[in-house]
């Protein structure tokens, strides 16, 4: 309601101002064109987020200086700190990069955003920039009309720059014509009050326009037209910097704790930098004058001096904060702790993860891993073991033999609470991610992950039946029956130990290929159990009715194993893992190595009903 009222008042005020002053129309059109240009640029660069940008981001953030350099360069190229900030929030939320790396990028983005001031002050207002806009506009439209994704993206980038340039041109004209009719210099304020008031004005303009770039354009154009004093323009630039935090704060609302911590850092960083800049405005201004002389910038060239000031206080802020990044990251992680979530609650599926195809895929992968963690805990309890036993290094057989009773667990209940509810969330998120603009590779990966989540759920369903028979015969007084059930439990315990270990490793070709070793061990173990059962039947040690139960249960155990290993194969396959997939062994290969003659039914790769 408040939002709608504010918007209505704003629209009315704009209409009145445009009706009253034709110069204001030019001014407002300049800002509008500039902001539309930024939207086009964001749209264009977002289309590149299907791969190259993510790969570069992941590779360039292992050291702080690399993160800062990445933030600086990417923001300079894209001319949008908002896009870089939002992508960084989504990467930190999906745990694709750490908080410290995210902090580095945000600091770099603060430096990169000052390139806009240089572009506007150095080029925009001194050269007839609109002359460059027209050819870009024409080529941009031609490129944008192409079907090919990349061409379309380049079209948007060209259109973005064209509109930025046109915006600067109109803004310049608007302030020049405003000069005759309206004198903003009447509102010039000096001293501390002036600094504080103009900083606040800078914050407000940036919050309204949601772009520090657009605010800087207004400041520089006004300064060029002599409508504001140099001193007040410095305070406005500080305010613009401070106001830019609003974008990341709004973006982090829909993100998880990681994103919120990053937003908190951005607010702290900008607030501290702005406070330091206000407190040291005099010395900073002198430093700007001294550096300007060194760079050959004229003493009365206030536009370039403003750009220099903007860069200087951001660079000094980054230098000042750099030594504290790791301790600050630790501080935020210990102080900003979310409410503990239930195991059935999704941990990675947030709206900010939908920002790019790569973050959506990573968030889903992490959530399926979480689902698998829940499922494997349930399966461990299903075979009457503790998680600590399975996760430890001690031999499993003694622990299995020590069992004196099978603790009854309601697998149905646990399935509905911890597995099904989480799977539902994953399915809904995947459907939402697929409705967003995505790449073919990301869509394929999402389909694979959906199948992996189904495999995990099917494995738990298998335990429902197995647990029932384990409770009935698992601790039988007949030592032969007990021996075979102990073997089935051991086979599953070993599988769960290996799969939980692999789940803790990062995806990679070698990790994924190591699953074949587990498959082979499982296949051999299954053969040994079946041979032993045949032997016991021949020796009449176990009744035929129980022998068939054992065989069914061994089948369930095998099914659970295949489902879990198939899911793990998807989870541990790297995004560019086609080579590893080509080298993974087929069920026939495994069966042959285990000494079999035909492929068992459960081992076929494409099960009925699968996509």
């Amino acid at each position: 309601m408040i939002r709608k009222s504010v918007l209505s008042i704003l629209l009315l005020a704009l209409a009145c101002a445009m009706w009253a002053s034709p110069s204001f129309v030019d001014l407002a059109a300049g800002v509008a064109l500039f902001m539309f240009g930024m939207l086009c640029l964001e749209e264009g660069f977002k289309r590149f987020t299907g791969g190259p940008l993510e790969n570069l981001l992941r590779r360039s953030t292992d050291r702080l200086w690399k993160s800062v350099a990445f933030g600086t360069v990417s923001t300079t190229l894209m001319q949008s700190s908002s896009l870089v900030s939002l992508i960084t929030v989504s990467f930190v939320s999906a745990e694709m990069i750490g908080l410290a790396a995210g902090i580095g990028i945000i600091m770099g983005a603060n430096i990169g955003t000052t390139s806009g001031a240089w572009l506007i002050a150095g080029l925009g207002l001194k050269v007839n920039i609109a002359a460059y806009a027209m050819p870009m506009l024409i080529f941009g439209v031609v490129f944008r009309m192409q079907q090919q994704r990349r061409m379309h993206a380049w079209g948007n980038v060209m259109l973005g720059f064209a509109f930025l340039f046109l915006g600067i041109h109109y803004m310049k004209g608007g302030f020049e014509s405003l000069q005759g009719s309206f004198d903003l210099t009447a509102y010039t304020m000096t001293g501390v009050t002036g600094v504080l008031v103009y900083t606040l004005v800078g914050v407000l303009i940036t919050v309204i326009m949601q772009s520090s770039h657009a605010t800087l354009l207004v400041i520089i154009a006004a300064l060029a037209a002599g409508q504001i004093s140099y001193e007040n323009s410095l305070a406005l630039a500080i305010g613009a910097n401070l106001g830019s935090t609003v974008t990341i704060v709004l973006g982090s609302v829909s993100s998880n704790l990681g994103g919120k911590r990053l937003a908190a850092f951005h607010v702290l960083f900008n607030l501290a930098t702005a406070t330091a800049a206000i407190a040291l405005l005099g010395p900073l201004s002198d430093l700007v004058d001294w550096l300007a002389r060194g760079f050959g910038i004229g003493n009365d060239d206030y536009l370039l001096k403003l750009a220099l000031f903007h860069t200087l206080f951001n660079v000094l802020g980054v230098i000042g904060w750099s030594p504290f990044v790791s301790s600050l990251s630790g501080f935020l992680q210990t102080r900003m702790v979310g409410k503990p979530k239930g195991a059935e609650q999704p941990r990675f599926l947030s709206a900010s993860a939908l920002e790019t195809p790569a973050t959506a895929v990573t968030a889903v992968r992490r959530e399926v891993e979480h689902l698998m963690e829940n499922a494997s805990a349930l399966l461990v309890h299903g075979i009457n073991l503790r998680r600590s036993t399975v996760d430890g290094d001690s031999p499993l057989l003694p622990a299995i033999r020590q069992s004196v009773r099978i603790v009854e667990i309601d697998v149905d209940d646990a399935y509905s609470e911890k597995i099904k509810a989480l799977q539902n969330e994953i399915i809904v998120f995947i459907a939402t991610a697929l409705s967003h603009e995505t790449t073919r590779e990301a869509a394929d990966r999402l389909y694979e992950l959906r199948r992996a989540s189904r495999d995990v759920v099917e494995a738990v369903k298998g335990m429902k039946h197995l647990h029932k028979n384990l409770r009935r015969h698992g601790l039988s007084s007949n030592p032969w029956i007990r021996e075979v059930y102990d073997r089935i439990r051991l086979q599953l315990a070993e599988l769960l130990r290996a799969s939980r270990r692999i789940l803790r490793e990062e995806p990679g070709a070698i990790t994924m290929l190591s699953l074949d070793e587990i498959r082979l061990e499982q296949r051999r173990s299954s053969r040994e159990i079946n041979d032993r059962v045949d032997e016991l039947i021949r020796e009449r040690r176990i009744p035929a009715a129980i022998a068939t139960s054992i065989m069914n249960d061994e089948d369930y155990a095998q099914g659970i194993g295949y489902r879990l290993l198939d899911a793990l194969k998807t989870l541990r396959n790297p995004d560019d893992g086609d080579a590893a997939l080509a080298m993974a062994l087929d069920p026939e290969d495994i069966h042959g190595m285990a000494g079999g003659t035909s492929t068992p039914a459960g081992m076929t790769r494409n099960r009925p009903g699968e996509q």
Binding site: A509, L585, D589
Partner: protein, 90 residues
């Protein structure tokens, strides 16, 4: 004749299939190298091992790696044959 050859060379330059094959070969060779290293370290571990159960497990791992490497090498051969335009290529 020269124009035809030039056209063929140009086609090959723009041929995305050929580029994809080269990329695939490179990726497989990278995994093959990593597998070879893992094989070497497992062999060392096997030599130093005295527990028969552990030795059997290590041998299983070595067997699997060997089979995977053979599959990878076959794949590289097949891709190379395809790249050469060998009609006998599988």
């Amino acid at each position: 004749m020269k124009a035809k050859r030039l056209l063929r060379q140009l086609n090959s330059f723009f041929d995305s299939d050929e580029k994809t094959q080269l990329k695939e070969i490179k990726a497989i060779r990278k995994v093959l190298k990593a597998l070879k290293e893992k094989e070497k370290s497992l062999k060392k571990e096997l030599q130093a091992n005295s527990d028969p159960e552990n030795a059997a497990s290590l041998q299983t791992k070595l067997d699997v790696i060997y089979a995977q490497r053979m599959k990878g090498l076959d794949q590289v051969k097949r891709l190379r044959a395809q790249k050469r335009g060998d009609p006998e290529a599988p």
